[in-house]
Structures are given as C-alpha cells and as structure tokens.
C-alpha cells in the first residue's frame, strides 16, 4: 500500500472517532443569563431560567419585535438537574448555560439550607461555570427577581453583576461572591459565608412589565441590599450596609469608599475618599486562648470639605486622619460585635488561626463558634490623607 493511501486512511479515522455530533448552531440555543432557585410548597425545587432574546438585546434593525429583552421560563423537580431537564418542555430552544452570570437563591430556601444543595450541580456539570455570582433574593422569590425589567442595561443579570462589581469597587458595602467563593467558604471550618442580597424596590408587578423600562422613572427596580450571613449553611440574618463595610475592611477588600468625619461640630462635614487599603490579621495564643489583632492601613484623599478648617496646616490633616481612623474603627467594631453576637466568624479569623497556629487550631476547631463569640480582638487603624484634591481649602475657609 502506498504511503499516502495509508496516510489518508489513518487521517480518516479521526472523522470516525470524533464526528460532528456536538455541533450546534448558535441560533438553536437559548442563552441563559441567570438562574433563580426557589422551593415550592410541596417541597419540589423550582428552577427559573432567564433566557436572552438576542435580537431584542442588540437592537438589530428589523429583527426586533418589541418584545422583552429577556424571558423567564421555569419548571420544577426533586433536584435542580431534573427541573432543568423538564424546562426543555417550555423553553423554545435547548438551554445553553455557559454564559450564566447570576444565580439567585430564594431567601426562604437559603434559610432551610438550600444553598448547599444548589452548588453540587454547578461544580459538576461541564456546561456550567463557577464564576457566576451568587445572590440571595431578599423579601421575594428568585423568579420574581429574574422577571424584573431593568432600564439602561437590558439584561438584568448583567446589570446586577456589573452593579455588584462597581459597588464593591467604589463603596465596599458589598462583596462579590461567585460560586467558587461560596463553595470555599462553605467547606472551610474557620470561616462563615456571607452573600449579598437583592430585592425589588417599588411595585413588584409593574416592574415585570415592559412598560417599566419605557418610562424615565421605573415603577420597580432591582436593588442590592444587605448581606446575608450564613451559619452552618443556613441563612440566619442580614447585615446592614455599615456592618457589611466593616467586614470588607477586615477582609482587606476595600478598594475605594467614602467615610464622613466631624469638623467644627458638624458630624459629617468632611468626606474622605479611600484610595488604597490593606488589612493585616495576626493571631496570638496566650494562655491557650487565641486573640486576634487587626491592622488596617488606609490611604485617602479629601473628597469634600464643608467647613472652615485650614488644611494648609499639617496639624489639621493629622487631626482629620485621627478622626478618620476612629470612624473606620467604629465601622469595624460594629461588624465584629454583630458577628460575635450571632457567633458567626464571617471574617475568617478561624482560618487565620489555622494558618498561623495549626497545632492549636485542632483544639479550637470543634467549638470555634463559641470561642469566636468572646474572642479578644484588637483593631489598629492607620489612616493617612495623602491628597487634598484639586485645591487645599474650602470656600468657607476662603470667606473668612
């Protein structure tokens, strides 16, 4: 047999071995942008898929029918996988989830420990991505969250995820948690899980209509609100924004935020923008009792000054830095006291002890929650104001 015939024959085996069985046309897929998970009264799991109507989103000339940019289809089953398969009955085209952005979990379901049930499928299925953000629907069911029509950004899932990323970046009041983060927090013994909440503000019914996005002030909008605290895989309580920010400070994930400090008797006269922050957590064991020391280093600039203070005087800057340090410390303390009260180590202090004192950790591991509740925690904040913005003094000072 000539060499080239052998070559062609051996090449043709590739065709037999593989084949085009997995080929599918893009137009035959329902691109899923968000999944909502609720629990029905009969105990079944209800899965909702937010499917993108591509031609409505891109606004292609002629192709748009004026329909809603996203459609929500839901179905139920004993497991999520079963429910997802059943969804094929009402979703027009096969579900294609790799572009999933957001997973919304019903608050009630999370309280019953539904989060853990959800995660296995996401880690196991090859079409699902673990970088989708996880959020808890606050005060409503997950399906309703997916059904809200949102202005400006057409796909609500994308709107929420970008909003979350921005919020974390500019305020530090929320922490982005994707499926990987949730899984690692759930499996860690020295850290409890926190997940941001999302709620509908305004009229829930009106928010689901297309008219919602046709008016300048929408009737119902999605709002990121609060941070859910988990203990033993179950949602137990919500942190407010101040407390969430305290957590973010301790985790060292503050990239930028605004803190107001007192000036000449006005409690919120100066706004300081944080530009850089760093948190260092050290654990110490004394008399077989662990303690935690948190050192926060912050650098910022004056964002807004509404008092007559003379900032050309270095002492004024030093004074303000001290006030700011106190302010940050207060924020952190409020978060810590709430966490200690509920006995949930959302800061991961247990992980710190485990890393720094692995031998001692074995002793604390079993009853860490109780130990955390009366842990001795000291906070040092080093606040610095490096810049004063485009000018030094306020109008009030110039008027004097």
């Amino acid at each position: 047999m000539p060499k080239w015939i052998a070559f062609v024959l051996s090449l043709s085996t590739f065709l037999i071995l593989s084949g085009c069985w997995s080929a599918v046309e893009l137009k035959d897929l329902s691109i899923v942008s968000a999944i909502g998970i609720d629990k029905l009264d009969n105990g079944d799991i209800n899965v909702s898929f937010q499917v993108i109507n591509a031609s409505e989103v891109t606004g292609q000339q002629g192709a748009s029918r004026g329909a809603s940019p996203t459609s929500v289809f839901s179905s139920s089953g004993k497991t999520i996988f079963e429910a997802a398969r059943k969804a094929t009955k009402n979703v027009p085209k096969p579900i294609f989830p790799p572009h999933l952005n957001l997973v919304v979990i019903n608050e009630q379901f999370a309280k019953e420990g539904g989060l853990l049930k959800t995660l296995d499928l996401f880690g196991r299925d090859n079409e699902l991505r673990t970088n989708a953000q996880v959020m808890i629907s606050k005060g409503t069911d997950a399906k309703s969250i997916l059904m809200v029509q949102s202005p400006v950004e057409r796909v609500t899932a994308e709107k929420i995820t970008t909003k979350m990323e921005n919020l974390e970046k500019i305020s530090g009041e929320n922490i982005v948690m994707d499926i990987d983060d949730v899984t690692s927090a759930l499996t860690s013994k020295g850290k409890e899980l926190i997940v941001s909440g999302i709620q509908i503000s305004g009229d829930k019914e009106a928010g689901q209509k297309k008219e919602n996005i046709q008016q300048s002030k929408p009737n119902g909008i999605l709002e990121i609100n609060g941070t859910a605290v988990f203990k033993d895989e179950k949602l137990i309580d919500w942190l407010n924004e101040e407390e969430s920010k305290g957590v973010t400070w301790v985790l060292g994930r503050i990239r930028s935020t605004i803190d107001n400090v007192e000036c000449n008797g006005d409690p919120d006269a100066i706004a300081i923008e944080t530009l850089k922050s760093n948190a260092n957590i050290q654990s110490m064991i004394k008399n077989d009792k662990p303690s935690i020391q948190i050192t926060i280093q912050q650098e910022g600039s004056l964002g807004e000054v509404n008092c007559g203070k003379d900032f050309s005087d270095p002492q004024a800057i030093l004074d303000t830095e001290k006030l700011l340090a106190d302010e940050i410390k207060k924020t952190i303390e409020s978060a810590i006291s709430t966490a200690q009260e509920k006995q949930v180590d959302i800061f991961g202090f247990g992980d710190v002890v485990y890393r720094q004192h692995p031998d001692s950790w074995k002793k604390y591991e079993s009853n860490w929650s109780e130990m955390f509740a009366d842990l001795d925690i000291t906070i040092h904040v080093q606040a610095h104001i490096r810049l004063t913005g485009m000018k030094i003094n306020s109008f009030q000072h110039q008027k004097k």
Binding site: L11, A23, V24, E25, L26, L29, I31, S33, F96, H99
Partner: protein, 542 residues
C-alpha cells in the same frame, strides 16, 4: 530522444572560450528535421540551400545577396530573422562594410586569407564567431544573430546583431517597494543579467547558460557567486536542470515545476521574483538564481518558509518598522489560513468560548440565517474566490462593473437579504484582506486552498479538527526541503545566527555574517535532501 546530461554549458561572461573548439553536437533543432546536421560547403549556393532547406518557407527570414567585388568576383549572402535582429547594426556594420568601395583594396592588399581578412579586418560588428555546422548556425540565426556566407568559404560568420523590440525596464508590478529601486526584470535574459550584474560588480558572479526544451531551445542561466554559494547545491541545480526533458520551456514557472524538491505540495520551494535587487541580495547570501529567457520572473533557491514573508521593502525601511511589519505578515497569514475555520469552530462547537456580549450579538445576527455557519462561510468564501478570479481575468475596461456587483454580493445586500450574517461578511472580508499581505503570491495561494480544508475540519470536529489540521500542516512543512535546506529553518532546526533575519530584521550593523543557511558554511546536513528525484523522471516523489 533523451538529452540527459548532454548539453554543454557555456559562460556568457567569456564567450570567446568556445571559439574554435569543435564539439560533436547532438542538438537537434527540430524533430521534423530530415537532413540532420550538415557541414557547410565551399559553394555559396550549397550553403544557401542548406539554410533554406531547414529554415526556408518562412516570411521572416531575410536573405540579402551581396557582391563584394566584381573582379575577382566575390559573392556573399546575409541571413537574418526579421524582428529579432537589430537592422541598423546589420546595415551599418555588415552590409555597409562589405559593400564599401575601398573593400577591394583591402581584399587585394593583404596577404592573409580571405576568411581572416573578413573576420579580422572588414566586419566591424561587435562579436563575430565562425561556425561550420548547420544546426548551431541555425540556432544562432533563430536567436537573432545574422549569418554571413562568402563564396568559397566553408564556414558561416555569425555576427551578434541581436536586437528587436523588448518591453522596457519598468517598475515591478507584483512586488512593490516604496523606497527601493524601481526597476524590474523584463522578458529578455541578457537585459535581466545586466540588471543583476550592475548591482554586484564581482568577478565571483557566474552566469552559466544552457538551452532547455527540445523545440523551444530556451536559454536558461544558472547564476551564483562562486565561493559563496554551496558548490554542491550549484551542482544539484545544474543536474536537475539537465534532467529536464520537455519540448517547450516558456516560463520560469515550468522550470520551477520540473526541478522543485517535492512534486505534491501546496508550498513553493523556490522563490520567484521580478526584482533585481532581491536576486542580487539572494546571490550575495549564497543562493542560486535561475533566469529563464522570456520571463520576467527569476527563480531563487534554496529558500525557506520565512523567505516568503520577507519583502524587499523590509531592507529599505528602519529595522524596527520592518520587524513589526514582518510579524504582522505572519499574523495575517495565520488569519488568512484559519480565520473562517476558527469562526466556524466557535460558532458551531464552542459557543461558550465567545464573550457573553459578543455571543448575544452573534446570536441576534444569526437568527434569520437559513444556513449553518459552515455552509454560510463556504458560500461566502467561494463567492469571494469567484470575484477575485473574475477581477483577475476580465478585461480591465469592465473592472468597475465587477467591483460594484462584488461589493453588493459580498456586502450589505447579502446581509440585508438575510442570507448571510454581518459577522460572517466581516470574517470573510478580513480573511481576504489578510491574504493579500503575504509578499509571495504563490504562498498566499497555498493559504487560500488550505483555508477550505481547515474550514471542513472545523465544521466536522471544531477546534479539535483545526488543531489536527495544524499538526499535519506543520509536520508537512517540516518534511519539506528546498534543495537540501530544511523548509522551516532557521526556526526548526533553530539557527541562532539566522534569527537576525528571520521573524525580526536586526539592524544591518548587528549582522556580521550573512545568512549561513545557504552558503558554504552551512552547519546543517543538507546533502540528505539534495538528491530528490525528479517528478518528470519517475512520475513519483521520493
């Protein structure tokens, strides 16, 4: 009728060497020639008959009878071919001298023989050779020289009066350099040789001329720098050329086809150029050029894959710019090869690899498209190939019509009609533009053909198929050799010195040595690949 290894080469640079040497000629000008080779006789009439018997019955043969002197009666005849000779030279330097009034004195006064007198004292033409055999004389006649017979002399005077009309030296059409020299080769080999010689005034440069084609008797020159070019490669070029056994050689493309290393490959293993500066540079690097009379394209060997990405312009611009543009060409070649196939693979198999926003846009565009992505791409690519072919073949006067219709077919109208998606038009158009950046047209054509194969692989197996295709392609490239030199050198095998003019172009001052791939000091074992069997000989490759 095999002429293997029988042709004798002659050096154009020293034509006088050949004089007087008598070689048994086996050349046959014409297969229909009955008389075969004849030796000239003393009688003028007989000589005239010999020539006319062979060449006669054609209107472009000019016969001019002369009477040199009436007492004693000396007659002669001049033959030439209309259009091939410089008539002014024939008139001034042959006819006028022979018909001069003072000729008689010269003929009588001198003691030497009539033959010597005419050759040495009378003919003022630039170059005169004497020939006794008819077939060589007729070859000279058909090459544009004039033949003079004198009654009583059994030899022909061959006067170099080659002339006639040539296209003038113009700017090359296929290879354009903004800052480089503007002259390009033309169809005349002697002018082409002069264009190269003007650039390298070195005695080392040799032009060996042989005649190829049993009927066409085309002059083919092997050009190289003695002492720089690898002597073995030169010998190999000589051998392969001598093995050519066809009737006509009408272009350098047929020579390339007959002497290239591998018969069945889409990749060119010889570079063809119409720029004398490229040939001069290649010769200085130790490469060998093959000039074929009648074609403005000169072949260069051995060449490597990277050679086809170098443009003459690279050496006339700053090295930084040239390096960047050269990298751009590699990227564009990859795009031209893989553009549609990657797009098909992503659209049909790997929708999860496309960024979300893009996948939504693509999905929206594809909603109304009736065909699968592969069929769509195939239709578009074939349409583009048809347009390109139409653009090349049609008369220039109707060129505008095609571009208008083409823009409609591959453009807005097709998208608006909902037959193809806008993204596919962008991919196909981008691929087409990318394919034009390859300086070597013949390599760009390879990419065009391979693109379709890659598209089929992508449509059946996705990125897996594209990867398989690339593996086979690279294995094939690695197996290719150009006159012994590995095709992927200097990348594989890796030659550090030659990297200075590979992917990048280093500044000239940093390159102490010329490319070592092609010259005498070649570190690679090139002999293994040298003895490639000619496809024309065995009908198969080695």
């Amino acid at each position: 009728m095999r002429l293997k290894n029988s042709k004798k080469t002659q050096q154009i640079s020293s034509p006088s060497e050949q004089n007087g040497k008598k070689k048994p000629s086996q050349l046959l000008l014409n297969e229909g020639l009955e008389a075969g080779n004849n030796y000239f006789k003393k009688s003028l009439d007989q000589n005239k008959k010999i020539i006319k018997d062979i060449v006669g019955e054609t209107s472009d043969l000019i016969e001019h009878e002369l009477v040199l002197s009436s007492d004693p009666l000396i007659k002669g005849v001049v033959f030439s071919i209309n259009g091939l000779v410089d008539k002014q030279q024939v008139g001034q330097f042959i006819l006028k001298t022979l018909l001069d009034d003072k000729l008689k004195e010269k003929l009588v006064s001198s003691k030497s023989s009539l033959l010597q007198k005419i050759e040495k004292q009378i003919l003022t033409v630039n170059e005169v050779t004497l020939e006794t055999e008819s077939d060589k004389t007729i070859h000279a006649l058909l090459s544009g020289k004039s033949i003079l017979f004198i009654d009583g002399i059994d030899q022909a005077f061959i006067c170099a009066t080659i002339g006639g009309e040539w296209r003038s030296v113009e700017e090359p059409t296929a290879e354009i350099a903004i800052r480089g020299p503007k002259d390009g080769f033309i169809e005349s080999m002697s002018i082409n040789i002069s264009l190269i010689r003007r650039r390298i005034k070195s005695p080392k440069m040799k032009f060996e001329v042989i005649q190829l084609g049993k009927v066409s008797q085309t002059n083919v020159a092997i050009t190289y720098m003695k002492g720089i070019a690898n002597a073995k490669v030169v010998q190999e070029v000589r051998d392969r050329l001598n093995k050519i056994d066809v009737d006509e050689i009408l272009s350098s493309a047929s020579v390339e086809e007959l002497i290239q290393d591998k018969a069945f490959t889409l990749f060119p293993t010889m570079l063809s150029t119409e720029r004398p500066d490229v040939v001069a540079n290649s010769l200085a690097e130790g490469r060998i050029a093959v000039i074929v009379d009648g074609t403005p394209f000169v072949l260069i060997a051995p060449v490597t894959f990277s050679q086809f990405f170098k443009s003459a312009e690279d050496y006339y611009q700053r090295p930084e710019i040239s390096s960047l543009i050269r990298i751009l060409r590699y990227i564009a070649f990859t795009l031209a090869l893989l553009g549609p196939s990657l797009f098909i693979a992503l659209l049909m198999f790997h929708q999860d690899l496309i960024p979300t926003t893009l996948v939504i846009t693509l999905a929206a565009q594809r909603e109304g498209i009736p065909f699968p992505a592969f069929i769509e791409a195939f239709i578009m690519e074939v349409t583009f190939e048809i347009l390109r072919e139409a653009g090349l073949r049609m008369p220039r006067a109707i060129g505008q019509a095609v571009s208008i219709v083409g823009a409609l077919v591959i453009g807005q109208a097709a998208v608006e009609a909902g037959i193809v998606s806008a993204a596919m038009v962008i991919v196909v158009a981008g691929t087409a533009i990318a394919s034009f950046t390859t300086p070597a047209y013949n390599l760009a054509v390879s990419a065009r053909i391979l693109r379709f194969g890659m598209m089929i692989l992508a449509a059946t197996m996705g990125l897996y198929g594209v990867t398989l295709g690339l593996i086979v392609l690279i294995a094939h490239l690695a197996s290719l050799r150009s006159f012994g030199t590995p095709y992927l050198a200097p990348f594989a095998p890796f030659i550090p010195e030659d990297q200075k003019d590979g992917l990048f172009r280093f500044p000239l001052w940093s390159r102490k040595k010329k490319s070592i791939l092609s010259n005498e000091n070649n570190p690679l074992d090139t002999e293994k690949g040298l003895n490639a069997t000619q496809p024309s000989e065995t009908g198969d490759t080695k």
